[in-house]
Subunit: 251 residues, 2 copies
């Protein structure tokens, strides 16, 4: 069988997350329904990660096996013409047999957007509205403690099932652009709700409820109850993925 | 009775337009339901214009009479705490008795946004995706013929009921910022679907289906069938209103 890879973007507002569910409409189901319409095959796609309801993706990787003879470069237009307009296939290519939307990923970058100004109905589904003042420079200093290889157990929501809670964080930055404060994290993998809990913790620092030095203590505690709240889903975007496609890595 | 004025913004995606309807949920109903909750009064608000389903507002003026003793400056927080988060009251003030959300308006500015690049799910409810190349400079030249006092009958959709189709256009500009082409129009009033039909006509010019000089001929024809298509609602934003509040004008 052929092995096809997609990069897609989606507005998570109207979906119950990526992963297929019995009752609710998800991005995976939208993609698989569209692939059924154009290939006649019941295809199971492998996404690069679960995302919760309301979470968005700017560049999300998935792969699937098919017997269809549709040229890879024709897939985007074919899928886009039949799928919900909240999902968009940006790119498709023929991948090596071993390539897998989840297991071939080497790094992921998530961004979390906070509206730190007046409420704005146009941003309500794409930011967390946090109206108290945030010191983004302090948040940036605090974020530096995340970089490196750590046991991030303190930033995992219950319900996450993993063999190890050790991950390597390559980049952690907080920037402000007007009212928008953006947390950007790149790691070899993320635990369940990790970006949202880190954001909730950095907001404690930015709002003066915690100190820059507290992040290291929280990590060392390995205790979820020491970390901050879980920021709401609608501010979270999967921004990009890097992967090894057997021909060198790409993104 | 007191006379209160509001400036509100709303994301029109989830509303069937501004004006109250028997069956469908509208912005007017959202506002009136919220005012009932906080004042106990069945209030009828006077909006500065109808907007169709899917059309947005950045600064929309309305006024209403009330016996409530709530200070004007407290209304935004009170309404915002009970209303759908697609609507936001930005400002409220005590207006003169004669002030009226519709009749006191002297000028309105609408903008229409076109995504002239690749489809983007995050822009789908806030732009018209027009994928063929548009020459925004030609559109800008063509728009200049709109400025002045004209019979704009050619740009009115059937269903508009007005005594006169003469309006004065103060400004008409087309600008490009990356993939986004924006049409901005300021007039003393607009006919039904006027901005959307003007946009559809300017797109003919930008795409080479009509010449810059055709706009004057279309206006002179007073014939709707000579003008372009009606651009879809989701690219349209009421941007601002100017009004005479008896104390000089404001916006």
């Amino acid at each position: 069988m052929r092995n096809i890879a997609f990069i897609i973007s989606y507005d998570g507002t109207d979906f119950h997350g990526f992963q297929r569910q019995r009752e609710d409409f998800t991005v995976q189901q939208a993609i698989e329904d569209a692939l059924f319409k154009i290939t006649g095959e019941e295809i199971n796609v492998h996404g690069c990660g679960r995302t919760d309801a309301g979470v968005h993706a700017l560049n999300y990787l998935l792969s699937f096996k098919t017997n269809s003879t549709i040229p890879a470069e024709r897939f985007p237009m074919a899928v886009n013409s039949v799928i919900s307009d909240g999902v968009y296939v940006k790119k498709a290519w023929e991948a090596d047999d071993e390539f897998h939307g989840r297991f071939s990923v080497t790094r992921k970058t998530y961004v979390y957007r906070i509206n730190n100004g007046e409420f704005n109905p146009f941003l309500r589904n794409y930011t967390w509205h946090y109206k108290y003042p945030l010191d983004a420079e302090k948040m940036q200093q605090a974020a530096k403690a995340l970089v490196g290889t750590h046991d991030f157990n303190c930033f995992m929501a219950s319900g996450g099932q993993v063999e190890s809670t050790v991950r390597t964080m390559f980049n952690a930055d907080v920037t402000r652009n007007g009212d928008i404060v953006e947390v950007s994290l790149t790691a070899d993998g993320f635990l369940y709700n990790m970006v949202r809990i880190i954001t909730g913790t950095l907001v404690y620092v930015g709002g003066g409820k915690a100190d820059v030095g507290d992040i290291k203590k929280i990590i060392d505690s390995k205790d979820r109850t020491k970390a901050g709240i879980t920021a709401p889903p609608q501010g979270l975007f999967m921004k990009s993925v890097e992967f090894d496609d057997g021909k060198g890595s790409g993104n």
